[in-house]
């Protein structure tokens, strides 16, 4: 509109100037005739008429100019409004796809591999959306390949540990059979069979640990928690381990807070964790070391810890102590029977119970491993040291 106004203004201005120029030419011709003495009255009339005509033209052009200016102003206002409308339309048509993109990127980052955007709207946002979808597609493909590899790995470990167990059963079984007739064996033969049995037990431990970890990774390590009294469980494990600590000249003490509430756990799994922690303490500590098991109530949890005054664990190893195949220096240099998997499994098991586990150590002073598991809900029964009283 403004453009039309400006064009019209220029045209009007041109017409006006042409008309003025023509009027001057007519007037000048008339004046020349008057000077020459050939014009007479008509020439004088023409001079007066042209002057009047120009005055009219000037009035007209100033009116037209005002109109045109108004037209131009109106045009500009209309144009600006239109531009604003167009611009805000543009913004809103970009905003929705962009918001959707931000939302989808957020979901993708949070692990929703199926996050996609609707491709449409302006060509630029459509291209952006298409590129995003392509990237998400690729991520999803990679993730599903990784999942498949993980599944294959888990299946492999489950099958392998299953398949290895049968021959191992035979080796251990027949070695035990030999030991049943040990009186007819020479001392050297007995020693040989003992080495076979020792290694069988180590292999079994490794297989069990691998199986546990594979199950844990596959989300198939299930626990069946039940209200369990703490003291009998700890007593039992301590009794089992005491034979080894006694043989190693180590002191093993128990320090349980009286009247502990029962915990909501699968007893066999807590026993497994405790055996692991106590076996570690026994194997990594020298003869004469002191090992202590303590248990105390802590809010809605019971904290069980195993402390020793052994060599301790350097900080760099302590940070990675719950990772697989992480073993202390002693485990690598001395004859320690661990698999490097025990603490990783203990951590998985504690977490399955909804608990936490941590390690603390000072080199030269000893180590403490403590885990917390939840108190059995709504039992209101005090387990304590006397299970008979508890029920």
């Amino acid at each position: 509109m403004a453009v039309i106004g400006v064009a019209r203004f220029i045209q009007q201005r041109q017409d006006f100037e042409d008309a003025i120029a023509r009027s001057y030419q007519v007037e000048m011709a008339a004046r020349e005739r008057i000077v020459a003495g050939t014009g007479g009255r008509p020439a004088r009339a023409a001079v007066a008429r042209e002057a009047r005509h120009r005055s009219e033209l000037r009035d007209q052009i100033s009116g037209d100019t005002r109109d045109t200016a108004l037209l131009v102003a109106a045009g500009l206002i209309a144009g600006l409004t239109g531009a604003l409308l167009l611009f805000s339309g543009l913004i809103s048509s970009m905003r929705r796809p962009l918001e959707e993109l931000v939302d989808a990127a957020g979901r993708l980052a949070a692990g929703d591999r199926s996050a996609r955007v609707e491709v449409g709207g302006l060509s630029e946002t459509a291209a952006l959306g298409a590129a995003f979808n392509e990237m998400a597609e690729e991520l999803e493909r990679e993730a599903s390949q990784r999942d498949q590899l993980d599944r294959l790995k888990d299946e492999f470990v489950l099958t392998a540990s299953h398949e290895l167990r049968s021959p191992l059963t035979s080796v251990q079984g027949f070695a035990e059979l030999l030991m049943l007739e040990r009186e007819s064996l020479t001392p050297r033969q007995v020693e040989t069979v003992e080495v076979i049995l020792d290694n069988c037990r180590h292999l079994v431990r490794l297989l069990n640990d691998l199986l546990d970890l594979a199950r844990s990774d596959a989300g198939r390590l299930a626990i069946r928690p039940e209200p369990t009294a703490v003291a009998p469980l700890v007593d039992d494990v301590v009794r089992t381990i005491r034979a080894q600590t006694d043989a190693g000249g180590q002191t093993l003490t128990e320090n349980l807070q009286p009247g502990l509430p029962p915990i909501e756990v699968e007893p066999a799994r807590i026993r497994q964790i405790l055996v692991n922690l106590l076996t570690n303490a026994h194997e990594y500590c020298p003869g004469g070391a002191s090992i202590e098991v303590t248990a105390r109530a802590s809010g809605a949890e019971v904290e069980i810890s195993v402390s020793d005054d052994g060599p301790g664990i350097p900080n760099d190893q302590l940070e990675r102590i719950f990772e697989r195949f992480t073993r202390g220096d002693a485990g690598l240099t001395q004859r320690v029977g661990g698999t490097g998997l025990g603490l990783a499994i203990s951590k998985s098991l504690v977490e399955l119970h909804g608990g936490t586990i941590e390690a603390e150590s000072t080199v030269g002073q000893g180590s403490t491993f403590r885990f917390r598991v939840p108190v059995a809900a709504g039992t209101g029964v005090q387990g304590g040291r006397a299970p008979a009283e508890a029920s």
């Binding site: 299953h162 049968s166 191992l168 059963t169 035979s170 079994v204 199986l211 199950r215």
Partner: protein, 119 residues
């Protein structure tokens, strides 16, 4: 002493089982899969106890036991599993199983369990 039918797809495991169980005074028959278990029972009658491997080709110990239970048998049955925890054996809860034995086999414990179940 009891008549025990042992099923496992490994010959050496069967030999080991037979040796240890016979040393303890039991009478042992063997089968290498669930199908043979059913055939053996059809031929020579029901033993005092079944010791069945959970996983065998053709027919598993669990499937063989299911057939026997469906037919109304109450025979004591122990399932031998390569799994460390009975719960991991994916064992059916609707089937009467009198105990789980894990590999490697703790024979002292197995003999105690057999004595309990057959007395």
């Amino acid at each position: 002493m009891a008549r025990i039918l042992v099923a496992d797809d490994s010959e050496t495991i069967l030999l080991l089982m037979r040796t240890r169980l016979e040393m303890a005074g039991h009478a042992v028959e063997t089968a290498c899969d669930g199908q043979e278990v059913l055939e053996s029972i059809a031929e020579s009658g029901m033993p005092d106890l079944l010791l069945l491997d959970a996983m065998m080709p053709r027919m598993s110990g669990i499937d063989a036991l299911r057939e026997l239970r469906t037919a109304g048998s109450e025979i004591p049955a122990l399932i031998v599993s390569a799994h460390q925890n009975p719960g991991d054996a994916d064992a059916p809860t609707d089937l009467q199983i009198d105990g789980y034995i894990t590999k490697p086999i703790d024979f002292d414990q197995l003999l105690t369990t057999i004595a309990e179940l057959t007395n």
